[in-house]
Amino acid sequence: MELRKNYFADVRKDDLHEIGQPRPRSDSPGHVTGKTAFFADRNFPGMLHLKMVRSPHHHARIRSIDASEAERHPGVVRVLTAKDVPHNVYTILILIQIGPEDETVLADGKVRWKGEAVVAVLAETERAAQEAVAKVKVDYEVLPAVFDMEEALKPGAPLVNEYHGQNYYLYDSGECRKVRFGDVEAGFAGADHVLEQSYQSSPIEHAPTETTGCLVVPEGNDRFTCYTNTQAMFFTLDNTSIILQMPGSKLHFVGGTVGGGFGGKVDVIVEPIAILGAKLTGRPVCFIYSREEEMQISSPRAAEKIVIKDGVMKDGRIVARKVTGYTDAGAYSRHSPYGAQKGAGHYPGPYTIPNVWIDTYCVYTNRTPSSAMRGFGVTIGDFALEVQMDKLARLIGMDPLEFRFINAYRDGDMKAHRQPTEGAALIECMQEASRAANWPVAEKFMAMTSYVKGA
């Protein structure tokens, strides 16, 4: 690894001992010998298997549930429905006051997406649990569903989630997150060119090789040990405490070893119901997603639609940017209101634009709830922004890399959400990229710097 020491030479410290040096990973010896203990690498005598009855409909009212035949199935120990869950309606981010609680642990009266958990079956073997799942009879009244964000926002669209009352997340700023900076309409009026483009993405599944799951052991001291592959131990601990109305001191979470997460294991889905099963049966319980569940049930990255309108001058300066972003939360919030909000701050990109207007909507549809995934809220936005940058450069006949140098933010520049830029290094990165990719730019750009003394 090569460290470029010519950048920021007057502000950097070069007495580094670790950076630039390879260091062995502490977990690798376990990985290469097979000794790393993933959550499922344990076995407890008498452990029950939990399997879910899931909604076959995108949107339906539940008229009735008849689990009597499933309860009589050989090997079945217990069947759980909504009434067994002490605090059945929750939302993960309530811990940081992002409500309302809008999601059921087990469906209560209604299902809002295909695959939603309705009834949990606990049995002596995985096979018995699976067979019993097929014997639970749920009588559904199918309701109209909405799958498209713009359709969902139209008057008269089916209401996805009654806990919200409308098909968008209500921020303190209203129906969307807003950024207002300068005068965007005046910017467009004075621009040499205006370009409006629309960008869309589909949901993306993380597909970790290890599926989501947990093992729960009721301990002799009236506590529950939960071995889990969650990426969010404390979110899980605290939400479980709320859902089960159980003090956190009764819950002992063991984890930190995750067989691939990528953001797909930050929701609180398997642990509360498995711990409840262990509590009500007094037996160890495992709830591990099948590969099919991992692909179809676990939260994907949200689908997004991003409409970008830019005003640009012939000399390369972007003078105005208006963005409307839509994040498809699916049927429940999970982490999506936060993702949509991140987009609002991010859509100007690493560029200094004097006039900015941004609206981002977090929209509810009858699709699989989306949530975190690697840079959610900004990754799809970056794709849209950089494609837009290339299109703008082409529009004014300018080299796309030089176009980015002209607009790159530098220390001291005010961002649209009114945070001054500090510690910028975009120009330096682009200078290195120019060399590495053998994509030469004019000497004046190679002489630029992000660092502004005293900024």
């Binding site: 990985h31 010998t33 097979g34 067989g259 691939g260 590969r291």
Partner: protein, 160 residues
């Protein structure tokens, strides 16, 4: 349900178990015998995390019925190091940073071992082909390929 007796060697040790008919070798190894080095990623033969070596051949333990394994010799990643000394493949994976989450690693090492047992000096293409049944969702394929090539070189140096 009537149990079926099954007896094989695992990493050189005799093992005997009674299993339900239809039990996979993966389930028998992990939940009956306690060797959890093979991992269950898909239980449908597509991810390769459950790979083991049966009589010298690479096999998916999630698609292999335990009751068909009478009299065979099974090797897993848990049995590769001897007296605490890592196998050259294990050492190469460690030194080449060829692990990230580690879930695919035991299966990768099994696939690589079968390759090197049959083809001591593989080409890069042969390594890629040999690992093509093993999914790494952290997408760290390049260091894994390099680790296998490094292990092959260190083997041939030792042999020389």
């Amino acid at each position: 349900m009537a149990k079926v007796p099954v007896q094989f060697t695992l990493n050189g040790s005799e093992k005997a178990e009674f299993v339900d008919s239809g039990t996979t070798l993966l389930h028998a190894l992990r939940d009956k015998i306690g060797d959890t080095s093979p991992k269950g990623g898909c239980h449908q033969g597509t991810c390769g995390a459950c790979s083991v070596i049966i009589d010298g051949e690479l096999r998916l333990s999630c698609l292999t019925l335990a009751e068909t394994c009478n009299g065979v010799a099974i090797t897993t990643t848990a049995g590769l190091s001897e007296a605490g000394v890592l196998h050259p493949l294990q050492r190469a994976f460690l030194e080449a940073f060829a692990t990230q989450c580690g879930f695919c690693t035991p299966g990768m090492i099994m696939a690589a071992k079968v390759l090197l047992d049959h083809t001591p000096n593989p080409s890069r293409d042969e390594v890629v082909e040999a690992l093509s049944g093993n999914i790494c969702r952290c997408t760290g394929y390049e260091p894994i390929i390099q680790a296998v090539l490094t292990a092959a070189r260190s083997n041939s140096q030792n042999a020389a």
